[in-house]
Each structure stands twice: as structure tokens, then as C-alpha cells.
């Protein structure tokens, strides 16, 4: 496949910005928190041991900071075909506002916050900034995750 010299127009940028995914809701199960903490080999008792966690300031188990990825929210769809085969995750910027507790119901929505093109070593690249907002059952924003994906 030949990579075009340019792909995005300003109009296409504006069409993409603000596109949202369907919301995805999960119940945060105690077992899922413990399994996640074990998988990352983090033995902090607030993630693993309910008896100890109960005595902590949280009064029970909370989820490790990156647990919210396991909600598995979809990416927002682009309003046009993207002629690129490869996708790289550039990184994440998490902001935390409320702890995520065992028993919480979390609803996540992802949204395209920005999209730009750049020409690099690998040719033309499309850089998309996606913000995922994670809300709990009290409609509080528990966390936001801003991630950058690179298509080329």
C-alpha cells in the first residue's frame, strides 16, 4: 500500500473531534481487583486483602491505578475509513479524582479529543488523542485517561 503524502483535511479533523464510543458499564468485582493486583504482582494490602483494607482510610478494597483499563471501552469510531494498517499506543495520562472500590459500577465513554497528521520516519502518521472518562454509580468522575494512538 502506498502511503499518501497527506490524508487529513481540516474538515475531516473537525468531523472526528468529539466522536464518542458507546458507553461501557462494568461492576467492579472484588475478585477482579485481586486478580488484577496479582497479575501485576502488586502485593499492597489495599488491593489484595480485605481484612487489612477495611482498616485503611478507604474502608475496603480499592482498585490499582490502571485497573480501569479492564473496563474495555471501545475506541470511538472514525467518521471515515482510515487507510493505515498499523497502530501504536503512544502512552497514557491518567488523572484520578475518586478511588474505585469493590462494588462500584463504572461507566466509561471514550471520545476523540484531537487528531493530527505528521510525517515521520515511518512516513505519514495520524496521531489521535482519545480521552476516556470513567464515572461511578454516583455520577462522579473517578478518573480520566488521555491516550495517544499512532496510525501509520
Amino acid at each position: 500500500m502506498t502511503t499518501p503524502a497527506s490524508f487529513l483535511t481540516e474538515e475531516m479533523r473537525q468531523q472526528a473531534i468529539g466522536q464518542k464510543s458507546e458507553p461501557k458499564t462494568i461492576d467492579v468485582e472484588k475478585g477482579a481487583i485481586i486478580k488484577f493486583a496479582q497479575a501485576i504482582e502488586d502485593d499492597n494490602p489495599v488491593f489484595n486483602d480485605e481484612k487489612v483494607a477495611r482498616e485503611s482510610r478507604y474502608g475496603g478494597l480499592i482498585a490499582p491505578p490502571t485497573f480501569l483499563r479492564s473496563v474495555g471501552v471501545d475506541r470511538p469510531a472514525y467518521p471515515y475509513d482510515m487507510p493505515f494498517n498499523r497502530l501504536l499506543d503512544g502512552g497514557s495520562d491518567w488523572e484520578y479524582f475518586h478511588p474505585v472500590r469493590a462494588g462500584d459500577r463504572i461507566t466509561a465513554v471514550s471520545e476523540i479529543a484531537d487528531i493530527n497528521e505528521r510525517t515521520g520516519r515511518m512516513g505519514l502518521m495520524i496521531i489521535t488523542t482519545i480521552v476516556v472518562t470513567y464515572r461511578n454509580q454516583f455520577d462522579q468522575v473517578a478518573a480520566t485517561q488521555t491516550s495517544t494512538s499512532i496510525r501509520y
Partner: protein, 142 residues
């Protein structure tokens, strides 16, 4: 419970205690199951090689979790993680240790909170920072 670090005891330039991880292919499978990220480049060597990789590679998000572990362990039970940033610059493969490090870059107060910024990163055995980042935590005051 772990020891508690207090805001007064922290100074700029102070190192966070290193965290060493030895991710195995088994850990990548456990992480795939726990996180729901089943992209085959993290556990299927043939699939990884067909995608121009030398081997299966660590999930970026697992490295993000390791950085979170570094900071939440250091800040202690009464610390609060406010922000966790990481960039995926290089790939890491299982079967070789990764070292997660951090250093305090700024100590300040904002809206009544006693805050600390840290530069954090994950490096490989060669000392290459494959996953740099930063964190902001609120610490208790004495």
C-alpha cells in the same frame, strides 16, 4: 501496613526506592486475562514474529501498572495518587528484568493539598528508559 512518607520529609532530588520486576511469559498471560487485552503479540511468539517483532513483548499497560506500583508503594497508605503519565518509547521482552525508578522533581502546595511531582521511568538491563513518565501525589503532613 507499609511505612508512611510525610510531605515534610520529602525533598526535590530524592529518589524513590527502585522496584525490580521479572516479567515472564506467564505473567503476560495473567495480565492478558486480568486486563482483557488479548492482543496476540503479548503471548503468541509466531504471531509476534509475523508482526516484525523479535519476540512477544510486554503490554504497554502492564508497564504503566508497574509505574503505578512504584508510586503507590512509595506514597504509603495515606498518600493519594493524583496523576500518572507514561509514554511508550521502546519495547520490552519477557525473561529479562525491568527496573522501575523515580525521583522527586517538585514539592509544592496547591488548594490546601501537599503535593509532590515525580519523574518516573521503567528501564531495561542496559539502562535504556523504554517507558518514561511522571506522577503527582498528595502526601499527608505531620
Amino acid at each position: 501496613m507499609a511505612d508512611q512518607v510525610y510531605w515534610e520529609d520529602v525533598h526535590e532530588g530524592m529518589a524513590l526506592p527502585d522496584l525490580v520486576k521479572n516479567p515472564s511469559t506467564q505473567q503476560l498471560v495473567k495480565y492478558a486475562g486480568a486486563s482483557g487485552d488479548y492482543y496476540q503479540i503479548h503471548y503468541d511468539q509466531t504471531y509476534a514474529r509475523n508482526n516484525d517483532l523479535e519476540d512477544v513483548i510486554l503490554h504497554g499497560a502492564l508497564k504503566n501498572a508497574f509505574l503505578g506500583h512504584l508510586v503507590t508503594k512509595w506514597m504509603g497508605p495515606d498518600g493519594e495518587l493524583k496523576r500518572l503519565v507514561c509514554q511508550y518509547r521502546g519495547m520490552d521482552i519477557p525473561g529479562t528484568p525491568v527496573i522501575i525508578k523515580g525521583v522527586v522533581t517538585k514539592k509544592y502546595q496547591d488548594k490546601g493539598a501537599d503535593l509532590v511531582d515525580c519523574e518516573i521511568w521503567l528501564e531495561n538491563e542496559k539502562g535504556e528508559r523504554t517507558t518514561p513518565g511522571s506522577a503527582t501525589v498528595a502526601l499527608p503532613s505531620r
